[in-house]
Symmetry: C2
Subunit: 326 residues, 2 copies
């Protein structure tokens, strides 16, 4: 048995043939070219998938179905994006699952990329064999996926697990969502870059040789902040501390709400887990009950660069399992 | 079919015979007298329950089982309290379910009172027919119960849904749990009384005729704060506003995490829902996504004084249903 995983991003789409244990048998990538419209894009996905099946040791008849991880919010029943800000309007309400099912003659399941990340962990990562865990995906924004009682938490309309928009303070910096004081406004790459820009407006580090002070503002990125922090730059260390503390505070809340066995940090920024970890752990310990803090480990994802593909394939594996349980 | 519901409190224990629709057929109350030890207490519960069966239209053979709502934290498998601060040490690790099962020759299920409140709503209250909702019990402290995917969220060790200990700010007043900035430190009766005491130490309302200023400090209670607010007392209105705002902020987080259809406010303080509601709604709207805010209604429980008994009976009804699904 094998599954086709399709990880849709704004720029590229990763496609892979994944076996039942979450191992990638063949994979490739195409450009999203979203402006060409969703139907043309689905056609190119199908062509690439067919080509990958040929390259993989799997036979066509071994493929059980297709799983898609897509930017949200999604209308899950329709298999379509709902006014996704990073895609042209032509994608809105277009049934990606319907189009691919027809092109490939296979059953298709879809979920948003954060839930897909959680399902990937459940299937083949740190969540394997565990009924209660939380995944935070740390990148440009912060996404989340929650598994409780062995099932993913989507909420009544599929908009749940927006863990980047846990309110960590009543005021605070404005978040991309329009609110203030969200976790994402502090601890995402965007939040950290904005903190750097704010600090650069003050006198606080103006005698600094920090690379953050000595580059054009639009060159600032999270990688540079982490690298500077590793070099001991005080301004970068302040930003990292604030990001880690707010992450730890939100994790404290998540521990008290879900009493999970694991908090898994995924996404690009989780590669810098070692430098965030002391701040995260201290704040989580301060804000969680002793019992819920001690129940859980806080750890980086082990799925690394393949997390997106494995998550997409896991969406199909999970839905098949739910249907066989019903 | 009928169920015996047992709602254990520190002072009194309510016992009721409840039919399958959540209607109370007979009910009564005994003193907890916790210092007499749990075995003697279970014996008195059984005696009272047998007496109530006689008084009710139900026959002994109609009784399917017993549900207990108990102060937590609980060891659910053992049916025992785990170091519960309001009960003598003799209660720790004593199997209440085991003792009652033997005394009554009936199957017994137990859950903590906050989860019982959620299960009561699921069975016979505002959560009936709904798969995703959140209950906040507002009293001396703040408890919580969450139903997601139609199932109660307990977490891996049963310590989950501690919604009173959502962190609403990084600093703030000290909470009974040892942390700072928990929802409970602002919006519980205890939190509101503490806010009043803090305000009385300032000059802010020292020309006030507020009843809050003109009583002994140990006479201050939440009822007095709500009554004074209704009379237009500015100090009481400030406290209510802060409690409502922090509740709304935590509810905003809960909307983004669970995307529920309802937030149900239960417990003694929910009787003053009308005066808290404008603050709650405004802050929840500010902190939640438009989509998650619009998915949910925020409403007081309709189970009123019977919520504890119905919740306790619902614990049994729910567990029976889960077992028949497995």
């Amino acid at each position: 048995m094998a599954i086709i995983g399709i990880d849709i991003g704004g720029t590229n789409i990763d496609i892979g043939i994944v076996d039942e244990s979450g191992k990638i048998l063949a994979s490739g990538s195409i450009e999203t070219s979203a402006h060409d419209g969703p139907q043309a894009c689905m056609k190119r996905i199908a062509d690439k998938a067919n080509q990958l099946i040929e390259q993989s040791p799997a036979n066509r008849k071994d493929i059980a179905g297709i799983g898609i991880g897509s930017p949200g919010p999604l209308d899950l029943a329709a298999g379509a994006m709902v006014h996704c800000t990073n895609f042209p309007e032509t994608w809105g309400d277009f049934s990606m699952t319907g189009a691919l099912a027809e092109l490939m003659s296979l059953p298709v399941e879809i979920d948003n990329d954060a839930n897909a990340a959680a399902l990937g962990e459940l299937w083949a990562g740190g969540g394997k064999g565990i009924d209660d865990f939380v995944v935070l995906t740390l990148g440009t924004g912060i996404g989340g996926g929650v598994v409780a009682n062995g099932r993913v938490i989507r909420g009544s309309k599929g908009y749940g697990a927006e863990l980047g928009h846990i309110a960590v303070t009543g005021g605070g910096p404005k978040c991309g969502c329009g609110s203030r004081g969200c976790l994402e406004a502090y601890a995402s790459a965007t939040g950290m870059i904005n903190m750097a820009k704010q600090l650069l407006k003050t006198d606080q580090y103006n005698d600094s040789t920090s690379p953050l002070r000595n580059c054009a503002e639009d060159e600032l990125d999270a990688r540079m902040i982490f690298d500077s922090a590793r070099d001991g730059d005080p301004m970068a260390l302040e930003i990292i501390a604030k990001a880690g503390q707010t992450l730890g505070m939100a994790i404290g809340t998540l521990l008290n709400v879900f009493n999970p066995q694991k908090i898994i940090l995924a996404g690009r920024m989780a590669q810098s887990f070692d430098i965030l970890e002391p701040h995260i752990t201290q704040a989580a310990k301060e804000h969680a009950f002793k019992a819920t803090f001690e129940t859980a480990t806080i750890e980086p994802s082990t799925l690394s660069a393949n997390a997106g593909l494995i998550g997409a394939a896991a969406v199909f594996a999970y839905e098949q399992k739910q249907k066989s349980n019903d």
